[in-house]
Assembly symmetry: C2
Homo-oligomer: 170 residues x 2
Amino acid sequence: MRADAQRNRERILDAAEEVFARHGAAASTEEVARRAGVAIGTVFRHFPAKDDLLTAILKRLLARLAEDAAALGGADGLHTFFTRLVARAAARRTVVGLAGVDVPEAVGRLGDAVGELLRQAQAAGTVRRDVQRPEVMALLVSVCQGALHGGWDEDLQARTLAVVFAGLAA
Amino acid sequence: MRADAQRNRERILDAAEEVFARHGAAASTEEVARRAGVAIGTVFRHFPAKDDLLTAILKRLLARLAEDAAALGGADGLHTFFTRLVARAAARRTVVGLAGVDVPEAVGRLGDAVGELLRQAQAAGTVRRDVQRPEVMALLVSVCQGALHGGWDEDLQARTLAVVFAGLAA
DNA sequence: TAATATAGTGAGTCTGGACTCATTTTGCTA
DNA sequence: TAGCAAAATGAGTCCAGACTCACTATATTA
């Protein structure tokens, strides 16, 4: 792959993340191209259909989250990850839950990373032992979506997470 | 308002609720008209813009929920309402959180009804006293959205709600 | 039942946005 | 630096879907 192609691909992904985050998945490809500083044809060269672009963004996003999660650990790892994620979702409208787009492996890796945080929290006695991965993931996604669409302020984030963590606590 | 107009208005709202619930807010007005058994012009006579239709549905939905909530009460009222709502969201894709559409009064009334359930649950000693309305609403919306998009099965719904209610418990 | 305002109809207009492709530009290699 | 394949360009095509309106049908009322 030529160097300019590589560079433009990254630029397009960055621009798309920004644009779709701000205006939702209905934002136009034209807008993405403009923000990336390339012609619309270039976007379609890299991502033949709009869906491919959405999928690519989501994949990258999930990969980054999994990395973040993997870098944490200990008694408060889960708590830290959860809190950080919600704050991020509330602040910028990160692309979450794009209807119809699914990227099983990427979701799987994130799930594994969160599962590991859960295991450590349980080992440290921070979280009840009968709690399982699926409901932790479910809560994570739910609260992020809530914060995302609801535009929660910091106080509401804190209060809501406090309830969730009281529920998880040993 | 003429009798046929009244009848068609209801039909259109029912059809729209069904269609948007199934295919999301991006579904076409044509489809709504077809399901309602009226011409597309009729839909636009009642609701000049698509947004008006979406708003009307949301208003009706929120009003119904507020009614449901108002009919409950006692120590387990909040729990019952919460559980019922999540199950409903997971089953049919009820229209929730339509971007850009807001109907302050309707949301307000639902909030009041939920607030009353919270008050009663606290009076009965089912829920901690330091929990406040905003975070309860936030959790409600979040979990519904999660269930909606995630297509949770009954088991996952139960486990997730168990964590939330453990967090709320006195 | 006649008069008429109100409501319904659906072919047609118009627009935004996804996607194409002939042409031009550019990075790479020999 | 010449040659060329890879990449970029952006005007143009195409279509779905929101919305219109001239006309027809019907509920209501006197």
